[in-house]
Symmetry: none
Subunit: 219 residues, 4 copies
Amino acid sequence: MPSINGDALDLPVGDHRRNPRRRGEALENAILTAVLEELAEVGYARLTMERVAARARTGKATLYRRWPGRAELVVDACAANRLSEADVPDTGVLRTDVLAALRQLSAKLATSHGDLLRGLLTEIMHDPEFARLVRERVHTAGPGPIQGVLWRAVRRGELASWVPASRRAGVAVDLLRNHYLLYGAPIPESVITEIVDDVYLPLLLAPPTAPPTALGDEA
Amino acid sequence: MPSINGDALDLPVGDHRRNPRRRGEALENAILTAVLEELAEVGYARLTMERVAARARTGKATLYRRWPGRAELVVDACAANRLSEADVPDTGVLRTDVLAALRQLSAKLATSHGDLLRGLLTEIMHDPEFARLVRERVHTAGPGPIQGVLWRAVRRGELASWVPASRRAGVAVDLLRNHYLLYGAPIPESVITEIVDDVYLPLLLAPPTAPPTALGDEA
Amino acid sequence: MPSINGDALDLPVGDHRRNPRRRGEALENAILTAVLEELAEVGYARLTMERVAARARTGKATLYRRWPGRAELVVDACAANRLSEADVPDTGVLRTDVLAALRQLSAKLATSHGDLLRGLLTEIMHDPEFARLVRERVHTAGPGPIQGVLWRAVRRGELASWVPASRRAGVAVDLLRNHYLLYGAPIPESVITEIVDDVYLPLLLAPPTAPPTALGDEA
Amino acid sequence: MPSINGDALDLPVGDHRRNPRRRGEALENAILTAVLEELAEVGYARLTMERVAARARTGKATLYRRWPGRAELVVDACAANRLSEADVPDTGVLRTDVLAALRQLSAKLATSHGDLLRGLLTEIMHDPEFARLVRERVHTAGPGPIQGVLWRAVRRGELASWVPASRRAGVAVDLLRNHYLLYGAPIPESVITEIVDDVYLPLLLAPPTAPPTALGDEA
DNA sequence: CTCTAAACGAGACGGTACGTCCAGTCTTCGG
DNA sequence: CCGAAGACTGGACGTACCGTCTCGTTTAGAG
C-alpha cells in the first residue's frame, strides 16, 4: 500500500526510554500492552510486527524470539488481559440467564474481540495446535458462561441432566457467533431473542431424538 | 514473506499471446479464470493481484480498473463459476435429504470455497454493500438447497408449514459452517450426523415456542 | 510515483464537451494549448502525453497520430506561440548592443523556455532531423539577434567584416547557454558582463589567428 | 515503454548468492558496479532502479535507503569509478596541449559520460546541492586537465599569468561541451581545431580587455 | 567483583506485493 | 471509412512489511 497516511511510525512513547534495558517479564508486558493498543487503534488486520515493535520500543527480533508470528502474539496478548470471564448473574430462570449470557457475548464481540476472532479464523489452519488454542479462547468467550447457566437450570429441574453435555448446549453461542461473522456488530436485540425463543429454548426442551412418531404417524 | 517458493512468476501460459488484444468480456473471462486457478493452487490468503495479472497475461491496472480490490475480484470470480447449485436428490425422507444436503455443503467447504469463505470474512466489514454480496454467495452455498428439502418435507406432511420460513431452518447450515470455521475441513461424518440427529431434526419437530409450563409441569 | 497528489487528472475543462467532435485544426489548437498550459504548470520534465490528452479532452492516440513523441509535440507547441523574436534595440555601440542581446536571452532562459531547452537536450539524439529542429529553435533563441548586432557593428566600422560569419560570433550565446545549463536561472548580471568584457569583446577584436609572435617573442 | 526488449530481467548474475549477506561497503560496491554496467548497456535514460536492484541482487529499498533517487545514485557511481583523470601529455607547446586536452574530453563525452551529462542536466534543478555535485563531476571531466596545460604555458612564458584564473580559461571546454550537447558525439576533428585556432588561442593571447579605442582608433 | 554469555535495541538486508502512473498500441464506434 | 476516444499490455515507480541477520550494548549470574 503506497502510504495511505504518511505517518512516520512516530507513535506516542510510554517513555520507558532506553536504559535501563527491559528484559523478561517487564519486556514481555510492554510488548503485550503495545499489541493491545495496536489492536484497539487499527484492528487485527492492520496490526503489523513492525508497528508493534516500534510501539514497544524494541526490535522485531525480540518479537520473533518469543512468538512464531502475529497470530500467536495476539492470542497471547489477549490471554494476558483476560477479560475476567464475567460470569452471568443467576436470575433463577433459564430464559433470562441465557439472554444475559448471549447479551454478554454479543457485547464482547462488538469490541476488538470480535475483530480479533474474525482475523484469527483466517490464520487458524497453519498449525493444528494453534487452532486448538484459538478455539479455547473463542469458546471461553462463549460456552463457558452458558455451561453454568445450563447446570443451574438442571439443578432447578428446568432441564434434563443430559442436556448440558450434549451438542445442543453450544447451539446458541454458535448461532450468535455465526451471526456476528456474517453480519457484524452490533447484533440487534431481536436476533438474540429470536435465537433464544425460536431456537435455543425449544431445542433444549425437545426430546433427546426426533420423535419417531413424527414420520411414523403420517406413514 | 521471503519467498516460500522461488518461482519467478513463470506461470503456465494459456498462450493467448498478444494480438488480437482481448477486451471486454473475453478479457474479463480470462481474468476470472486466472483467479479461480490461483484460488485452487495457492488459496485465497496467498492470492495476489500481481500473480492474477501475470496469469491472465494482463496488467494490474486492468484489474484495478474493474475491481476495487482482491476481495471483490474473487467474489466475482466465484459468482461466475456458479457451482451449479447442485440440488439435493429427493430421497423421500427428511433425514436422508438433510444429511445429503449437509454432506454436499461439507464437501464444498473442503474445496477452495471453504478457504474463500474464511478469507472473505475478514474483509467483509469495509463496505456493507460488499458484505451483503458475500453473504449471498455464502448463503447460496448453504440454505438454498436445504430450503427445497424442507419444503418437500412440508408437502409430505413431515414438517409444519411454518418451519421453512423460521429461523430454525438455517440452523443446520449455520452449525456446519461454524464447525468448519473453527475446526476446518474435512468435517467428520459423525459431526454431521450429530448435528442432524441431536440438534436439527429435534428442533424442526419441536413445538413453535418452548412449552410455557416447562418448569412448572416438571416440578 | 505513488500519487504524490491525489489529483485524478481532473483538470479544468475548456468545456468543448464532446460532440460535436473536434477535428483538424480546431483539435490541434486545443492540443497545443493544452501543451503550453502543462508546460507552464508542471514544466517539461513532468509533462506527460497522458495529461496533455486529458487536458485537451482527447485520446493519446490522437496525439501519437500527429507527433512521434512528447519532444516533437512540445516543439510544435512552442513554434505556435512563437515568442515574437523581439529584436535588440540599436544603441549605436557594440558593447551595449551585445549586453542587451544577452540580457534578453537570459530573460528568455529564465522562463519555461529554459526548462524546455534543458529537457529537449536529453531527447535530441533519437533522430538527427529532430535534433536539427531543436537546434534551430535554440539558436533562434540565440544567435539570431546577435547577428544583427554584429553586422551593425561591422557597418559602423567597429568590427572586421569576417567576424559575424566566424565561429567567434556565437561564443557569447554559447557561453551564456552553457552557464544556464550548469547553474540555472537567473543568471547574475555579473556573469553577463564578464562574458562580454572579459571574453566576447576581446575575442571579437582579436586578430583572426593567434599572433605568431606570441611564442616566438619569448623564444 | 512497452518493452523494447522482452528480457525478463534475467540479468547475468555475479552469483554472490545469498549468505553471507552483504553489507556496508561491499554491498555499496556491488550496487555501484551494477549502475555502471547498466549505464554502459542501456544508458542513463533507460536506467531504472528496478534493474539496478535486480542486477546487484538486492532490493529496491536498499537503494532508496542510501540514495534519494536515480540521479544521485548515478552520480555516486561515477564518482566511484573516477575515470583516472588521465592527464594531458606535455608536448611543450600550448596549441598541441590544448588540442590533446580537448580530444581527450571529446572522447570522454562520446562514452556513457556524455549521455550521463545530458541526462543529469535535466534533473539538476531540484536541489542546488545536487547541482553543485554534478557541476563538480562535469567540470572534473573538463577544466581540470586544461588548467595544467595553461599553467605550463604560463611557466614557459607563452601566456600571461592572469589567464588561467580568468573566465577565458574555461571557454574551450565550455564550447566543446556546448557543441556536444547540441550536436552530439562524435565531435568532428574540425570543430576541435576551429575552437582552438579560431577562438581559444586568439582569446588567450588577446589583451585583458577590449582596446578602449577600438572604435575611436578606427574612426 | 569480575567476566562471560545471553538477551536486547536497533536497524540493514533480500525480497514480495502493493496501488498508481505512464508509454505506446490496438479496437471500437460515431460522424 | 477515417479518425476520435479510450481500453489494453506492460514496465517502473516509491512504500510497507515480511522474516532473517548482524551489530554493539547492557545486564544477569557464575566463578
